[in-house]
Symmetry: D2
Subunit: 445 residues, 4 copies
């Protein structure tokens, strides 16, 4: 018999995304009967937690679902005995993200939340905190699944898989968005469509499309050519070149624009920054301020449509679908981040990958690929994964050498002199959040 | 839109198993709407085809399903434009099987239909005929799936995968039987159970059992110890030793008894043969004769219960479930024979394996293993697979050297002197069915 | 008994490098007794062949060695029955190289003979010609070894290995130069030193140094830090950063400067070009003109010291050492380009790699690596190798899609828009040398 | 500068083989200048140590070489600061070996010192003692090479590689014997011959023969057919079948007779035992008694020719050649036991294999194979290696389950019921030597 009194702990519960999640938990309550929902945050997030928590309570009340909501600053209390722990934290908050975006720009490099040097800095700040959470889970809820939504989700998942015993799955709303947009393109329900997604978080390719059981990959590539393709709210929306897509033989993900259209993306970001003095983080801050004003309105008892602008579309969909499928042992296919174990044979066994998995009660089981990866996908995937492996080591051990090599081989940096100056800037401006580099940085900076 | 006028060709349609299949096609007709069903056989099987075909027609009539039945000796007509081609052929018929069982016994070795020297001889006879069928499919029904039920199913699937372009899946009723018996053991419906099966046809292990989403593998091994475990109608039913099962860490399949209990199995077979003068094939002949008498009775309009004794339990279940899931793009998990492609990393990529697969409209997608295989499973699996690789080469090319080495390294032979004498006997007694060895055998025998 | 009447065919015999080779063949004649030496060139190189051939004859005469020299424009005559065929061709001659260097510069990218877009264009021109030579060897000298000195040597070796049956080894003077410079650094003879070189042509790392049997890798990295390291005549000589070398844990090769110091290298090349209007090819043309004037002097009977400036230092050393070791079945260790076959497990089996090999009469046997490659080496190596795989396909099949993807993922390009414009320029300006792209380019350009 | 004061520790110095080793150390003293030679043994071997030590001293005196001989029962004193530690121990002495040979016979299985159940029991006794020696080496001579001659040498090398940090090489006289016999067959000096040996200790194949730089493998297989092939003093000398050798495509090693001619070998051993009441160990005891009588003769100042009968031919050759090549950083090719690391891709990376290696000052560097292994070699190799992996675990951890599975999958056992009875016998009769099984065996036996 399945447990009917589920406990969920949401680490970073004061996030502006939380109403998304609450909405999903309410909508799917029949199939995923949460009894106790803990929203936990740190002291600095107490005020946001209060606002979000009050809205969450109003949403639950309006739904009539028997979900008991708990707001707390005591992480261990939240985790103790939980069935699922979700994380959506932002170490250093949006100010840190703003720096992540600006420091690379000062070196004439793309500054982005999860990709390149920005994502690198975020990983250094975030991974030690997540591993600390994992220690609590190992002690207080050893059977819990950790559903990690915290970015950079691939790097975080890999760190957890390498340095803890927690059962964890890394999750992103990009695959589910891709699916929805392709379904829309073909005018079919998702259930009549199957797509093969392969790669790593924020660097995956859609290598196959089947509609109603028919192979449509060639047709799909034709359709895509020249179109704007799949996009995300937070990524400038440049068109893909038809010939390029055909020669690639797959649909790149939205974040691929930072690689394949590096020059133009840099130019756009730079122009925008120079024109407005703002990066995406600065704009998100404004959106968030507005959202929190909305959240405070006592009449609001559902997630406001403005939340979509924030970039969190389908977030609850992805998270609740995953937990629901684990809970119900559903056996449906979702695209999540898991340990490789030979599924992508050109990558090491112990790294995190983002692929189609069957979701069972013991978590995701990856599906074998329909075709071997062609060299154009393989090469880019391998070099970015090597960057990720080095970044995980740097983040866990405060290893300056690994950090320097990580940035040096990253395709968006690719120069050791640039990498070194950039790294020193990142370490200095993040020094309050990088205790693991403290001792070393005294020596090396 | 899915095609509503499915055509199925059943090669070897005169088989005594056919009523099983008809039964399944009738039961699942709503979800797998067969319009045209061709039963095809060779001249020598014309009489059996008539008997079986008449019964099939009566079964269809009684069901009221709109299935149009065609009986034919023209294989190309049956295959042309088919959506699915199933094979259930027996080259040399039961007389050949009887020899397969007796020749090894004369060398003091286990003689069995699919395992060891018996299965080897069957592979030599069968693979060229199957590849010939594949040529017809490539020409006349290039989009058809071939569902291969012909034994030795793993060897046949591997040969088809290596030497033809036909989309084929190898199928066996052993995995589905194992699932049913474990479900019964736990008193749960199959839908609340998940087991992980890994290996090759007739040599797979059940390495994991989950009941209602809970890990029960340890409990399952405890339960098994001392019990008779999973059995098949055609395999002597010896008890597994408790300590052995615990040390193995998995449930062996029924055919493993020929390996792990080699001595006792040989003794039992030998004693039985000496006492009765009969091997299993001889008994099956009698069962078949009775079955055909039954089949002839005009009042019979359903498959008779006696068919189960024949060993075909769940045959229709396995075959129809697979075709139904492909047709409906179901995405459920079934255990079938597919090309390895890295799923079992200790075996070559291009060999056939038997593992859990998600069944989509384009066929099976193998699932990654939960755990790496332990050495005790790996070693036996590898040596038997090497035997299979050699056997495929021997069967396709009439390669005496490959044949000699295949038998020499087979764990049930394992001696080159024995292997050579045995091989020469097998080639001589099967000479009418082995044109590929003709030229050579003139020289080598 | 070893053959005492060796025949060598030198394809591209009119090269200014040839006196180097003649010098080596004379010096080592006792151990590598060449009887017939064919210098062969194309019609357009007839004059240079005459000049070089005359010098070669004077060198041989002065040496008193019984080498019979043959000058010919008939390639098949030269190859027929040869024991070794060396290639040192330059399709399109130095004018093409000059374009290879200038076209990328026009796109603000590094233009270099073998690395990046320049090497890519050279590969497209060269590979079909080399494969044509291979057809002659397959027919006229099937037992011959082809010693390929033609750049880009790694790409050419891979193409030969994938698309011909000729026994070939790719050779470069960079490993032997590295060895000599490290031996000098330590003041020991090469025989008391062992270094481990691993990677691909013009992108290898020295990962280990042993002096007199002692592990000195750490000491070596210390020594290197801040020093200019190993250099080549044709590569700007920038210092490596101490911390970078330590974090890399290996000595990069000279060509690594184009990757690790991309920005500074581009700046230097650009400044030099803007100041002088010349690239390296233009300067080499001048050096060559001077060399050929020297070569014409009847009094000259040895290779002139000016040849070193040309960049060919140790060329004869590398080539003659290799042929001598094959001929004598020496079993010494040399660093050459061979098929991978698992030696570098993170690369495909069928690609060319540059590693330490034991040289026996049947050619090179690669040595296993002392340590797995760290991610910083692995990632860069993998992406450049993927570029090479695509480039080989593009060169052999005139495949525009492969060409576009090759340039897109190359770390010195890395942007699809840039790659496309660059590719179209390269194809257009090389159209006379790329018959394989003819048909397509009509459509795509 | 190389060290000129080498210290060697010989663990098991009282062995009858020691005069072989002394002979080698004297002969090669110029190139391998041993200054201090420690023969160490346990209390029970004190008397043999005295006899052998006295002979060794007389041999050294007669040679005039400046080798200082030390006899001791203090292992730590012998190991402290040693440059090389060789092991040639026999836990339980010849009585234990006699049991190893007889217990399997009682179960109608081959009983042999290193192969099958006998070698298994020897591994259980020996591995813990060797790992104990390794702890001393790690502490007292961390830079020393351990040259392991103790059987089963492959299993012991694998255990050391997996469970200690000692630099070790496993050594056997079988490869060097094979080389000598093939050289004799062709009437050439070994220096003009190259053979490729691949596999694991006592289960390797000679897959390639080159004479004077020419491929002679086909010719070699022809020559072998019908001949007695390569033999060892201690293995019954049955002829290989011509057709079998051709189909195998390689020369099996002498120990392969236990596999490929299992039945005949068992019959021969059994007949011999029944006729004489003796196994090989019993005969060796007699040979040893005679040898020790010889050793005692004061006039004897060299190794007596009778020693060859003992089976130790070329032992000193193999051991001293290896140490000499390490000491002199020779770079010659020898066949030794090392960690796999991808050289045999069908085996795990961390297992011991026996292959051609270049011997440098840092030890052996394995050479890549000329050709992938064919299935007939691969399958047998894999199953025996899986047995070895399980046996190492059983020996190190006293793991009954691993022991039971090891015997079950061994091709010379291959039946779980037989394996269990046999294992219980082996554990009981060796109980004094298997402290690691003590606790368990109380429960399980």
């Amino acid at each position: 018999m399945k447990k009917r009194q589920l406990k969920i702990a949401v680490i970073g519960g004061g996030s502006s995304y939380t109403p998304e999640l609450i909405d999903g938990l309410i909508r799917y309550h029949d199939m995923f009967p949460v009894a106790d929902l803990y929203l936990v945050d740190i002291e600095a997030g107490a005020e946001k937690l209060k606002v979000v928590g009050d809205l969450a309570q109003r949403m639950i009340d309006a739904s009539g679902k028997p979900i008991k909501l708990h707001l707390t600053l005591d992480r261990r209390e939240a985790i103790r005995g939980a069935d699922f722990v979700t994380t959506q934290i932002r170490v250093g908050m949006l100010d840190a993200r703003s720096r992540d975006e600006k420091i690379p720009l000062a070196h004439h490099l793309i500054g982005q939340e999860t990709t390149g040097a920005g994502g690198f800095a975020k990983a250094l700040r975030t991974i030690p905190v997540i591993l600390d959470i994992c220690k609590d889970i190992e002690e207080l809820a050893p059977d819990a699944f950790m559903i990690n939504f915290t970015n950079p989700a691939g790097l975080v998942t890999e760190a957890v898989s390498k340095y803890s015993r927690v059962k964890s799955v890394g999750l992103c709303n990009l695959p589910i968005s891709t699916k929805m947009q392709i379904a829309e393109l073909y005018g079919v329900p998702q259930t009549e469509m199957y797509i093969e997604i392969v790669g790593i978080n924020h660097l995956h390719w859609t290598t196959r499309v089947m509609i109603d059981g028919k192979e449509m990959t060639g047709d799909f590539l034709d359709k895509l050519s020249g179109a704007k393709g799949i996009s995300m709210a937070n990524i400038p929306d440049l068109e893909w070149d038809a010939e390029f897509i055909q020669s690639l033989g797959a649909l790149p993900c939205a974040y691929h624009r930072y690689y394949y259209m590096k020059e133009e993306m840099l130019r756009e970001i730079m122009e925008h920054y120079e024109a407005t003095g703002k990066t995406r983080a600065d704009e998100v801050k404004e959106v968030e301020a507005e959202l929190f004003e909305l959240y405070k309105q006592p009449a609001l008892t559902s997630k406001p449509p403005q939340l979509e602008k924030r970039g969190g579309a389908y977030y609850s969909e992805a998270a609740v679908q995953l937990m629901k499928s684990i809970y119900n042992d559903t056996g449906d296919i979702q695209t999540v981040n898991v340990r490789n174990q030979g599924i992508i044979p050109c990558l090491p066994d112990n790294v995190a990958i983002e692929v189609n998995c069957v979701i069972k009660s013991d978590g995701p089981h990856a599906l074998s690929l329909s075709h071997p990866l062609p060299p154009q996908i393989r090469g880019l995937l391998q070099v970015v994964k090597a960057y990720e492996e080095l970044t995980v080591e740097a983040a866990v051990h405060g290893d300056y050498a690994a950090a320097l090599q990580a940035l040096t081989i990253h395709p968006l940096v690719g120069d050791e002199q640039t990498a070194k100056a950039l790294l020193n800037d990142l370490l200095e401006q993040n020094s309050g959040f990088l205790p693991q580099f403290q001792v070393r940085s005294g020596q090396t900076l």
